[in-house]
Symmetry: C2
Subunit: 253 residues, 2 copies
Amino acid sequence: KCRIIDVANQKGGVGKTTSAINLAVGISLWEKKVLLVDFDPQGNTTTGLGIDKRENINNIYGLITGKCSLDQTILHLSEHLDIMPGGEDLSALPMEVYDDKDRLFILKKLLSELRQHYDFIIIDTPPSLNLITLNGIIAADELLIPVQAEFYALEGITQVLKTLKKVKRYTGESILKTHFLVTMYDVRTSISKQVRQELEKHFSSEVLKTVIPRNVRISEAPGFGESVLTYAPLSKGAYAYKELVKEIMEMKI
Amino acid sequence: KCRIIDVANQKGGVGKTTSAINLAVGISLWEKKVLLVDFDPQGNTTTGLGIDKRENINNIYGLITGKCSLDQTILHLSEHLDIMPGGEDLSALPMEVYDDKDRLFILKKLLSELRQHYDFIIIDTPPSLNLITLNGIIAADELLIPVQAEFYALEGITQVLKTLKKVKRYTGESILKTHFLVTMYDVRTSISKQVRQELEKHFSSEVLKTVIPRNVRISEAPGFGESVLTYAPLSKGAYAYKELVKEIMEMKI
Ligand SMILES: Nc1ncnc2c1ncn2[C@@H]1O[C@H](COP(=O)(O)OP(=O)(O)OP(=O)(O)O)[C@@H](O)[C@H]1O
Ligand SMILES: Nc1ncnc2c1ncn2[C@@H]1O[C@H](COP(=O)(O)OP(=O)(O)OP(=O)(O)O)[C@@H](O)[C@H]1O
Ligand SMILES: [Mg+2]
Ligand SMILES: [Mg+2]
C-alpha cells in the first residue's frame, strides 16, 4: 500500500530536491499521507520548505544515531505532509558505519516501521553514489531519476544504472520500477530535444510522459519556503508538477 | 611560479566543470602552459573536451594506483593545454585508502612533481565534501568556488567554509586565497541580485568582479567537445569567461 520513491542522480543540480519537494506536496494535495525524507547532508529539502536548520536540531542523523526519537524528529508541515529533516551531520554517517555489515540497510529498516502510517514516502538524496545514496536506493520500491535536458545528463545515467545492477547483485533485491523525468526542458534549444529523444530511445517505457520546463517560478519558490504548487499555482512550472503527480498517482504499479 | 587552482563546491550543478574547462582553455590562449586535472568520477571535464572515456583507459586513477605512467596519462589538447583525464574508477579511491595516513595528500604529492612544467594547474572536483574533494583543496594554492545565482547557493557556502577550517586545522596549511565566482546570473530575476549582494556583504574582497551570465552557448559547447571560448567566441558567455581569465591573470597573488 505504501509506495517508497527514492529521487537520485549523482549528476549535480538536475532537480532532485525540486522534484522531491514538488512531488511530495503535490501528492499531499490529493489528500494522501506523505512523508518527505531529507537524506542529503546539504539539507536543501529542509530549507526549501522553510525550516531553519539552526533552530531545528532533531534530524534524521540524530534519529539514526539514537539522539532523538521518531516523535521528536518528524515535523508536520500540513494535514497530509510530514517531513523528516536533514542536516550536515549526516555526512558523518558513511565513516561511522563503514564496518557495519548492515550499513546499506539503515534507511530501509528505519522506514519499514513507518510504511504503515503513510501512502507515500519520498526520499531526497545527494549528488553522489556513496553509502548515503545507496541507502536511499535500497530503501525504496521505486526510483525517480531526474535528467536535466543538457549535454552532461546522459553520461551520468550509465553510471547510475551500473550502480543499480551492483545493488541488485549485492542485496538480491531489485528496485520495483525506475522512472526517468526530464527536467529544465527548454523548447528553444536543440540539446533539450536531443536528450529527450536519446532517453526515449534507450529507456522508452521508463521515461515519464511529463516533462518539466525550465521555469523561473520553480527556482523562486524555495526562497519563500514553498513548493511551486502553492507559490505560483498558475505557472508553467506548477502545471508541469501537477501533471507529474497525476502520472505517478495513476500509473499501474 | 605555478598557480594551482582547485574548483570546488559541494552544491551540484553550479558550474564547476564549466568554469574549470573555460578557465583552463582561456589561460592557454594567453600562451601560458596549463594542466587541467579531472578529479571527478563523473569525468565531465574529460567528456566536455571531446575525449571518449571508453577509448581512453589511462586516467588519473590509473596513475595514482600505478597502472600507467605520467606519459601515458597526460594528453596534449593544444600547444599550451594538457589534460589529466578522469574516469568513474576514481570513485573507488576513498575506500581503498581509508586507513592510509597520507590519504589527504595523494593529489598534492602527484602535482608537486608537475609544478615545474606548468604555469597553471586547474582541478575539477565532484559535488561532495569527501576524500576526493579534500584532496583537491589540499593540493591547491587557490580555491575557486562557483556560486550559482539561485536560492540554495548561499546555504552551501557555509558548509564549504567549515570544511576549509577543518582542513587548515588538520594539515596546518592554509589555502592561499579563495575566489567566489557568481555563475548563471540572470539579470531578469531578483534572486540573482540577492545572491550577489549577500555574497559581497559576507565575503567582499574575495568575490570576483566578473559575473558569468546564464547563456545557452555555454551549455552547448561541451556537446562539441569545446570551450565556449572557441565554440562561440562572440557570445556573452565567451566574453564573460574571457573577462574571468583576465581578472585571474592580473590579480596580485
Ligand atoms: N524546472 C526548473 N526550472 C528552473 N529552475 C529549476 C528547475 N528545477 C530546478 N531548478 C533550480 O535549479 C537548481 C538545481 O535544482 P536542485 O537543487 O533541485 O537540483 P539537485 O539535483 O537537487 O541538486 P544537488 O545535486 O545539489 O542536490 C536550483 O536552484 C533549483 O531551484
Ligand atoms: N553560465 C551558464 N549558462 C548556461 N548554462 C550553464 C552555465 N554554466 C554551466 N551551465 C550548464 O549547467 C549545467 C551544470 O554545469 P556544470 O556541469 O559545469 O556544473 P558542476 O558544478 O560541474 O556540476 P556537478 O556538481 O555535477 O559536477 C551544465 O549542463 C552546463 O552546461
Ligand atoms: Mg538536491
Ligand atoms: Mg562537474
